[in-house]
């Protein structure tokens, strides 16, 4: 994956890559959407044409207008996704943190239902093969077992990266969409009148006249799940590639939906009776290759969801929405990452989904709710973007907002009806939301208690300490990580760490500040020498998409300074230099814990206790900042936020 995300030229190769990355979820929707709409209802023209019409206009309004045209404009230095959008607009309102967290939570939650529903829909197609009808029925143990096997294999191989197999994604998806198109066109050719289903009148008729027609929107919505991926993966493919490939994808999807509707009206009989119109429009001789291609497409869709979840959590960590967890780079390919804890969480979630729901039909009922919320949250953030960044006319924004509000609220209401099918999901989503909420808000409370002092006040003391040979040397170069981004300030706790009890003597004191930028790929640094070769402040500016390798960057900076003769490595001869005349570098990391001497208000107490518990479960500071353990000294400091003000302690009188 190359670094240059701004100029994504449109080439055959780039279009193929976009096909492989972006459209897995939305592209595999034909496997279950119409089946979900028809369900066990009598097949009628109103229902079939109405369903297809709703699908078409949902793809037009929700996907084409909202995502392809509008949302893709909201790129943050070429990157997309809900957190990228939040990073652009957060300065305009503090309250935008709530839609950001909610949108990310539901997007992540969706990552545990998309893989099982997609793969199950594909595998259940084997029931259409002669001889396998009674073996791979939906809900059968063998079907469930095969789905679990495929998913488990997929999750297992995440640690090795997808750079090798990823090259095949584009061609496989191209074949998939061609398959959709040809199967659809074949039916349309025989029954061309189905094209009239594109008339919005049929959508209106179904919603208004068909019994409980409005509630069918819950199933209709499944056709547009995956639209968010068009935006999330913007950075991988570029706007033009996405817009160009969408033309082909949409035509293929619509052709297939129309083809399925043609079959339903002319061959479907009175009831569907468990059949899947997607497989019914396949010629018998094509069934097995078709199922194979479908299975591959769903695996690619699942892979895209998994990769997207890693990216989401990585961005959440960098924006202080998620506790630090281990992130690995499974290949040299920039942008590829693997988060073991998220991988395990998703894997367990997916397995539980398939075991609980057993078939794709039951999962359809639970699917979609989360994504309606994600889309609504994106709409809120997008409106701020259009208003404050693009500076569009307020009336235009209001009209667009009303349009999307009507559409998305309708989908939301229709999906809420399915909430009883997905109660366990709600706990999962609540859990993710609480983690993000607690982490973000507790950090704010925590940060309010961080006292900064003027570094200059301690300069003479530092110089004295550094030259005091009566104090044993702690290290040649002593480095503290500081949140202070102004040149002359550092945290009070750092001065306490240097001067307390056993003062830490060093030849050079470094204060290293990591500034996470709102741009995704920044990597620069600034140097400020407060006392020449004695007290040095360094600010490293790191983009929010980059995993910080602090020690590596620091050593590079030192090398640069030595090479430019701006720094003397200060290998002063003393006892230790007899054995080793290399300069040593030591990082000091200050880990805080809640002191028992606190008396909290309920909300603060709960938040802070939960925060410190999450911190313990997550990654340590030294690992998070890419510090090698051997060069790190960890100090534990008690934190007192609300000191106990009254202690009823009395002295016993002597008798």
């Amino acid at each position: 994956m190359d670094n240059n995300h701004f100029s994504k030229k449109v080439t055959a190769a780039s279009l193929l890559i976009a096909l492989g990355i972006i459209y897995g979820d939305i592209g595999t929707s034909p496997l279950y959407v119409l089946k979900a709409i028809i369900g066990d209802r009598p097949i009628s023209e109103v229902l079939v044409y109405g369903g297809v019409s709703c699908i078409f206009w949902t793809l037009a309004i929700q996907t084409t207008v909202k995502y392809i045209w509008l949302t893709l404009q909201a790129d943050n230095q070429g990157e997309g996704g809900i957190f990228s959008l939040y990073a652009i607009v957060k300065r305009y309102s503090k309250k935008l943190v709530i839609p950001a967290i909610l949108g990310a939570t539901t997007l992540l939650a969706d990552g545990i239902i998309t893989p099982p529903i997609s793969v199950a829909s594909a595998i259940e197609g084997l029931a259409n093969v002669n001889g396998l009808e009674n073996i791979f029925t939906p809900g059968a143990n063998l079907t469930i077992g095969l789905v679990i096997l495929i998913l488990s294999t997929l999750f297992f191989f995440q640690r090795f990266g997808t750079h090798n197999v990823g090259r095949a994604f584009g061609p496989v998806m191209a074949i998939w969409f061609l398959t959709l198109f040809i199967l659809g066109i074949n039916q349309i050719y025989h029954f061309p009148l189905v094209i009239k289903a594109l008339n919005p009148y049929y959508a209106y008729q179904m919603l208004v006249s068909y019994p409980k027609g409005f509630w069918l929107l819950g199933a209709v919505f499944l056709c547009t799940t995956g639209a968010e991926a068009l935006y999330s993966d913007l950075g991988h493919c570029g706007k033009q590639n996405i817009r160009t490939t969408w033309i082909f994808v949409k035509i293929a999807l619509v052709a297939n939906y129309l083809g399925q509707s043609a079959w339903l009206l002319h061959n479907g009989g009175e009831f569907l009776q468990g059949k899947n119109p997607f497989y019914e429009i396949m010629p018998d001789w094509f069934l097995i290759p078709g199922i194979l291609i479908a299975t591959l497409a769903t695996i690619i869709a699942s892979q895209a969801l998994i990769s997207g979840s890693y990216t989401l959590i990585s961005e959440a960590m960098n924006l202080n929405f998620w506790p630090r967890v281990a992130v690995r780079q499974p290949s040299e390919s920039k942008g590829q990452m693997y988060i073991p804890s998220v991988n395990t969480l998703l894997w367990i979630g997916c397995i539980l989904m398939i075991l609980y729901f057993k078939s794709s039909e039951h999962m359809e009922a639970a699917y979609g709710f989360s994504i309606t919320i994600t889309m609504m949250m994106t709409t809120i953030l997008l409106s701020y973007f259009l208003l404050y960044v693009k500076k569009w006319n307020k009336i235009v924004i209001l009209c667009l907002l009303c349009l999307f509000a009507i559409v998305e609220t309708s989908f939301f209401i229709a999906n809420v009806a399915k909430i009883k099918e997905r109660w366990m999901f709600l706990f999962f989503e609540l859990g993710i939301f609480m983690v993000m909420y607690i982490w973000f808000n507790a950090r704010k409370i925590n940060n309010k208690m961080v006292k900064f002092v003027e570094l200059g006040k301690y300069s003479s003391l530092l110089t004295e300490l550094s030259q005091d040979d009566n104090i044993p040397k702690f290290s040649t170069h002593l480095i503290y990580l500081t949140k202070a981004n102004k040149r002359h300030e550092i945290e009070d706790k750092i001065t306490k760490s240097i001067f307390s009890k056993k003062p830490k003597r060093a030849d050079v004191y470094w204060f290293l500040h990591i500034e996470r930028t709102n741009e995704p790929y920044t990597l620069t640094y600034d140097i400020s020498e407060l006392i020449d070769d004695k007290v040095i402040k360094v600010t490293i500016n790191i983009g929010f998409r980059i995993y910080p390798r602090t020690e590596l960057y620091f050593k590079k900076i030192v090398q640069d300074l030595v090479a430019n003769k701006e720094l003397n490595l200060h290998i002063r001869p003393d006892g230790s230099s007899k054995y080793n005349n290399q300069a040593d570098f030591k990082f000091v990391v200050i880990e805080k814990f809640l002191s028992v001497e606190n008396e909290f208000a309920i909300r603060e107490g709960l938040l802070l206790n939960a925060y410190f518990w999450l911190k313990k479960m997550g990654q340590s500071d030294e690992a998070a900042f890419g510090l090698d353990k051997s060069d790190v000294a960890v100090e534990h400091v008690p934190l007192v936020y609300q000191p106990i003000t009254h202690i009823d302690l009395k002295r016993n009188e002597k008798h």
Partner: protein, 98 residues
């Protein structure tokens, strides 16, 4: 005026001084002489200073090296400050906070 960070103005002015004795007038009417010894931000993403740690004149500044939490500085919310008088150049900053 709403979007101007007045705490940054005070910060820049104060830390450019040699003689850092100042007189702060608070909304409550209280007037204190002393020095700023530290400050706290609203949060790390918002770089506005929310509180000033102020050491009143004629009290010995105690550096709490041992985390004994026995300090003599007082914490002043920035939004409570009405004005700051700088002894070095006899200038006054008025803060018409929101």
């Amino acid at each position: 005026m709403k979007n101007i960070d007045t705490s940054a103005i005070l910060y820049e002015k104060y830390f450019s001084l040699t003689n850092r004795e100042i007189k702060i007038t608070l909304k409550s009417g209280k007037i204190i002489d002393g020095e700023i010894v530290g400050f706290t931000y609203k949060d790390t993403s918002n770089k506005q200073i929310a509180f000033w740690h102020f050491q009143p004149m004629h009290s010995n500044y105690f550096i709490d090296f041992d985390n004994s939490r026995q300090t003599t500085d007082i914490i002043i919310p920035h939004k409570e400050i009405v004005s700051v008088y700088f002894y070095e150049d006899n200038s006054i900053c008025y803060f018409t906070n929101e």
